[in-house]
Structures are given as structure tokens and as C-alpha cells.
């Protein structure tokens, strides 16, 4: 068994080498810039710049937008995945294609099209006013940025969840309802815990990049929403202060890795996800601690 394990670990070798060559070393390049000042002397001021009011504010807004977007993606993805199961469109490949196909159109083209839909005189407002409602002021707002990020990342949340859920045998779900679980408890006690690995991947793929998705903020947010990604980009280009840009980047990375290490530790959970707390019927739904409802 142990020897087997060792052998299996060796499979990661090409990736280890590849990532040392093309991920870790370039990362070291960045870190070198991060811990030196413009004259090449050691300095942590670039890392600490993370806490200046302007940068911290951008970071908090990024965090907020990334959180909101991730939660929305999760909330949209689960019902969608469940619907796909229900509709018995059992051809997974077909569904995968169908969901990811819009993503094969160029990102910028999609964002510009989305902007045309959301803008003040845009298509959405034409429909809304056509129906006799007040036009929506979505253009150049945080809401527009959130819509854009959700639009861009929803498929990336859906795919990993879909993958784990599509694998759950129908008989396992039947077993749960046979043992007395209502459709809701089947979801919260079986489907959700079993899809946790996929959810984890989805959150990583959505949450992390949405913090730095400055192009969406520029196009849909009208440049009024400044994400940490915008600042990093500016430091690297307009102001050519690579040291500061690297410092902010490294600090962001550090923050995320620390945050991530908690979720990695948490994966003891999937095997025994819930110690049942009696009588705890109503918790606020949301986030990963989605409440498990009482049985009907």
C-alpha cells in the first residue's frame, strides 16, 4: 500500500518540474521585486503598502465583490446542476459543451456585448421601459461589475460541481429518500456534502481570479470601481513601479494562500461532514454553512 502510494506520488513529478521551472521561479522573480526598493535594496515597504488606505480600500472592495460573486455563482450553479439532473439531459458532454460554449467567444467581445446590454440606453433598458418600468441604472455600477464577473465565471463554478454531482448514483439518492429524507434533506444531507470537492474547486476558480479581474471593472464599472487588480496593473504599466506592483501581488498571494490553507485543512470534513445538532432548525442560509433543514 505504502509503496503504491509512493509510486503514485511520482506521477506528479512532471508537474513538479514544470511548475518549478515556470511557476515557482517566475514567482521568485516577482518576490525579488517585491522585497526590494527601486535601487535594489532590501525593503518590505512594498509588501506593507498593502495596508495604505488606497490599497486596502481597493483590496476590501475586491474581497467584497469576489465574495458576492462567488456566493451568487454557488447559488445559481446548484439549482442549475440539479435541474440538469432532473431534465434527464443525461448527456454530460452535451451539457458541458452547452454551458461552456459562450465562453469560447472572446472575453472582450462578450464584455463589450454585455456592456451594450446593461448600458443606460442599452438593450435591457429597452426591454424594461418597453414593459412600462423605470429604466435601471446598472451601467458603471458595482452591480454591473458583479453581473459581469458572475457571467464570466458561472460556468467555471458549474463544471466542477456538475462533475461531482453527476457521479452520484440515482440509487444513493433513492436510498436517502427511502430512509425518510425529504427532497430538501436529500439535497442538504447527501448531494451537498458529496459535491464538496467540486464546490471547493469551483470556489478556487471563481473567487481567486475575480479579485484581479480588472478588465471587467474597467468596462462594466466605468472605471469607478477600483479592484486590487487595477492597482497592480497600474503599477506595472502606467507607473512602471514593478517593485510596488510585485509587493502588492505578493501580499495578495500570501493572503489568499493563508486563507486557502484553511479550506485545505477543512477537507477532513467531507468524510464526516455533519455532526448532527439536534433541534437546530433555522440557520441563515448562505456561504458554505448552508443550513440543513428539518425533515418534513
Amino acid at each position: 500500500m505504502d509503496r503504491n502510494r509512493k509510486q503514485r506520488q511520482l506521477l506528479a513529478l512532471p508537474y513538479v518540474l514544470w511548475s518549478i521551472a515556470f511557476t515557482v521561479i517566475p514567482l521568485l522573480v516577482i518576490i525579488r521585486y517585491a522585497v526590494t526598493d527601486k535601487d535594489g535594496h532590501f525593503s518590505v515597504s512594498n509588501l506593507l503598502a498593502f495596508s495604505t488606505p488606497v490599497n486596502a480600500k481597493a483590496f476590501l472592495i475586491s474581497l467584497e465583490i469576489a465574495l458576492i460573486c462567488t456566493v451568487i455563482c454557488v447559488l445559481l450553479a446548484y439549482p442549475l446542476v440539479m435541474v440538469v439532473r432532473r431534465l434527464r439531459i443525461s448527456r454530460m458532454t452535451f451539457m458541458l459543451f452547452f454551458l461552456i460554449m459562450p465562453m469560447w467567444m472572446n472575453f472582450i467581445l462578450r464584455m463589450l456585448a454585455l456592456q451594450m446590454i446593461l448600458s443606460n440606453n442599452g438593450i435591457l433598458n429597452m426591454i424594461v421601459t418597453g414593459l412600462g418600468f423605470q429604466p435601471l441604472a446598472l451601467a458603471n455600477t458595482k452591480a454591473a461589475v458583479i453581473i459581469g464577473v458572475v457571467y464570466d465565471y458561472l460556468p467555471f463554478m458549474m463544471l466542477p460541481i456538475f462533475n461531482t454531482i453527476s457521479d452520484i448514483g440515482e440509487d444513493v439518492l433513492e436510498a436517502a429518500s427511502d430512509l425518510g429524507a425529504s427532497p430538501l434533506s436529500v439535497f442538504f444531507r447527501v448531494i451537498l456534502p458529496m459535491s464538496l470537492p467540486g464546490l471547493k474547486s469551483g470556489i478556487t476558480i471563481v473567487f481567486v481570479p475575480s479579485m484581479t479581474s480588472f478588465v471587467i471593472a474597467d468596462i462594466l464599472g466605468g472605471g469607478k470601481i477600483q479592484l486590487i487588480g487595477n492597482i497592480i496593473e497600474q503599477e506595472f504599466t502606467r507607473s512602471t513601479n514593478w517593485n510596488l506592483g510585485s509587493g502588492l501581488s505578493a501580499a495578495l498571494m500570501l493572503f489568499m494562500l493563508v486563507g486557502m490553507s484553511f479550506t485545505i485543512k477543512d477537507d477532513i470534513l467531507p468524510s464526516h461532514p455533519v455532526k448532527d445538532e439536534e433541534g437546530e432548525k433555522k440557520e441563515a442560509p448562505g456561504g458554505e454553512g448552508i443550513s440543513r433543514r428539518a425533515v418534513l
Binding site: 451594450m116 466605468g222 477600483q226 487595477n230 506595472f236 504599466t237 502606467r238 512602471t240
Partner: protein
């Protein structure tokens, strides 16, 4: 189709080899680094056809991106086309070599006025060849404004609150405020810069959006009444919506010039000069003008324009309206850093 993809794949695999190819072959070749969409591809083909010199052509989104990639040194570029302050910086860093433009067959096509402008960043016109130029001004919808638009004031007096689009780029935003306040846009005086900052912060609630590339479209589409744009953008905007007009405010503005440079490591300076001379030739300049529609410094082309076109502020600003205008030079590091910080503050506000 499948074959093509396979061929492309095969091409990719061979590339590290292919990259060395150029060094073994005697064929002449130039590596040209230009800004995006800044040359008619037909011109390149034509040059190769005429001279036998092949062109490896790359484009950069911004002058800064170009600088970054050029400075990294991974590719030996022969020719660069970049903007005024970047030219100054490259000259100062000794990255470019002097060129004797008087030896050019078609050099005289470039009007003296533009050589004079260029001395601001290239004293003595030793290094750079003006390519296209223009101004920063206000593009507005004549059906939506009340009263004449001739001053930056309309952006700051609150009259058009929520209908204004500013540039999402640091310098193009600050020059507006500095010029409006009557300062030089190359000022290094912190007090003046901070005054501009206060003005912009106060203006922010009135601004609908800070955009770069989409600013023009927003005015064309009627989502905004006015936008700060480059003159070339304004020309294009009016092509799509005849109700639009462009004005260079009376307080003056930024006058920008993009120019060609020959790098210090240029492998074949003669070929490079040949290429620049080629760009000055009437037919080539005409072709590029029609492709780009920015103001051209090529008098041969200008002479061929209709009267209407020549009267167009966006296409051919006359010397008078440029009177109060300056070329942005991005003076010293401290000022740049200050502007940077203030810009981030403004955007994050």
C-alpha cells in the same frame, strides 16, 4: 481545416528552432514594434514587395507596455513607434540612435510645424520622425448640450452631471484639470497638482464613467452627452453620428505626437531608414492616413484633403487652436509618483 490546425501545431513545436532561422539567412529583415492598429497591413506587404526586406511586425496596446517589453530585451527590435514622453525617456536612456532625416527622399513631406513641435521631446530632431499627431478635447452631442461648448468648464460646473465621460488614464485626466486651472500640464508644483486633484475629486460624482476605448462609443450611442477623447477618436465618432462635434477648449490642451525611432541595437540601420522614408512617401502616408484617420504631419497628404476636411478640428487642427497647448513630457519621478498615488486615490474614492 484539420490539416491547418495540425500545421499550426507543428509550427508551434518547431518554433524555438524557427526563431534562430533569421540569423543564418542573409535575407534582410526588420523587427518593427508599433502601437495597435497603427499601420495599414498592406503598407507592410508593399514595402517587402518593393525592397525585399521582410518585416516582423508586433503591436503594443500602450506605450508603457511597449517600453516594458522592449526593455526586457527578449526581442531585438529595430524600429519603435511610440508617444512623445516615451520618446524623450528612450532618448534619455540612450536606447535609440540618431538618424539623419535630411537624407530622406520624402522627409520634406513632413511639415516644419511638426518638426518644431517635436523639439519639445527631441531637441534638434535628431532621433524621432513624427508619424501621427493630435489633441485631447471634448466630443459632445450637439443635440443635447445647451449653449456653446468651448471650455473645460462644462466638465466641472455641474451642468452636465452624470453625462460626462472622462479618460480612464492618469495623464489624460490630470491634464484636463491642470489646463482648466491655467497651469502647465508639465507642472512639478505639488500645490498645483493637488489643486487639480481637489477639482477632480469634486467632479467625480458628476462623472458617468472613466473609460478609455469605449468613451467614444458611449457618446455615439447616446449614453453620455460628452467625453474627453483623443482627436482621432472624435473624427471616427462623427463618422457614426453626425450630431457630434469636437472642440479643443480655449484653455488649451495636450498636444500629442507619435514618432518613429531606430533602436541603438538596430541590426540594419539602412533598412530601417529605408522603411521610415517609405512611410513618408505620399501614397504610403495617404494609405495609412485613410486606415488610421488621425492627424497626419504629412503635408503632401494634407494638401490632398478637401476644404471641409482641412477645416475639421479633429482631423487637422490649425496652429491657432493649438496655441495654448503643450506636449506632455512626464517630467520627474517624484511628480509621476505623486500623480500615481493621487490617481489611485481618485479612482478608489
Amino acid at each position: 481545416m484539420k490539416k491547418r490546425i495540425l500545421a499550426a501545431a507543428a509550427m508551434l513545436l518547431c518554433l524555438p528552432l524557427g526563431a534562430c532561422e533569421g540569423k543564418n539567412q542573409p535575407a534582410r529583415e526588420l523587427t518593427v514594434f508599433n502601437l495597435c492598429e497603427y499601420m495599414d497591413p498592406k503598407a507592410i506587404e508593399m514595402f517587402t514587395l518593393e525592397t525585399g526586406i521582410t518585416i516582423k511586425y508586433e503591436e503594443a496596446l500602450t506605450a508603457e507596455d511597449m517600453y516594458t517589453k522592449y526593455k526586457a530585451g527578449g526581442i531585438d527590435y529595430d524600429l519603435l513607434c511610440t508617444c512623445d514622453y516615451m520618446v524623450r525617456r528612450l532618448i534619455a536612456e540612450g536606447e535609440v540612435q540618431p538618424v539623419d532625416f535630411s537624407s530622406f527622399e520624402y522627409g520634406k513631406n513632413i511639415g516644419q510645424r511638426y518638426w518644431d513641435y517635436a523639439t519639445a521631446y527631441d531637441p534638434g530632431n535628431k532621433y524621432s520622425l513624427p508619424y501621427f499627431w493630435g489633441t485631447v478635447g471634448i466630443l459632445y452631442d450637439t443635440t443635447k448640450v445647451h449653449g456653446p461648448i468651448d471650455s473645460w468648464d462644462v466638465l466641472f460646473n455641474g451642468e452636465y452631471s452624470g453625462e460626462i465621460i472622462m479618460q480612464n488614464s492618469m495623464m489624460d485626466t490630470y491634464i484636463v484639470a491642470l489646463k482648466y486651472l491655467g497651469y502647465s500640464l508639465n507642472t512639478t508644483d505639488e500645490a498645483e497638482i493637488r489643486a487639480a486633484q481637489d477639482l477632480l475629486v469634486a467632479q467625480k460624482p458628476d462623472v458617468s464613467a472613466y473609460l478609455v476605448d469605449e468613451a467614444r462609443d458611449e457618446v455615439v450611442a447616446g449614453n453620455a452627452t460628452m467625453a474627453v477623447v483623443y482627436s482621432g477618436e472624435a473624427y471616427l465618432g462623427r463618422e457614426y453620428n453626425p450630431n457630434l462635434d469636437y472642440v479643443i477648449p480655449k484653455e488649451g490642451t495636450e498636444l500629442w505626437i507619435d514618432s518613429w525611432l531606430v533602436t541603438k541595437n538596430c541590426k540594419d540601420p539602412d533598412a530601417a531608414k529605408q522603411f521610415l522614408d517609405f512611410l513618408c512617401r505620399e501614397d504610403v502616408a495617404q494609405m495609412n492616413f485613410e486606415y488610421i484617420y488621425y492627424s497626419t504631419p504629412n503635408e503632401a497628404v494634407l494638401n490632398g484633403l478637401s476644404d471641409e476636411e482641412r477645416a475639421d478640428e479633429a482631423l487637422a487642427p490649425d496652429p491657432d487652436s493649438c496655441q495654448n497647448s503643450e506636449i506632455c513630457l512626464q517630467s520627474d519621478a517624484a511628480t509621476t509618483e505623486l500623480l500615481n498615488e493621487l490617481w489611485k486615490e481618485l479612482r478608489g474614492n
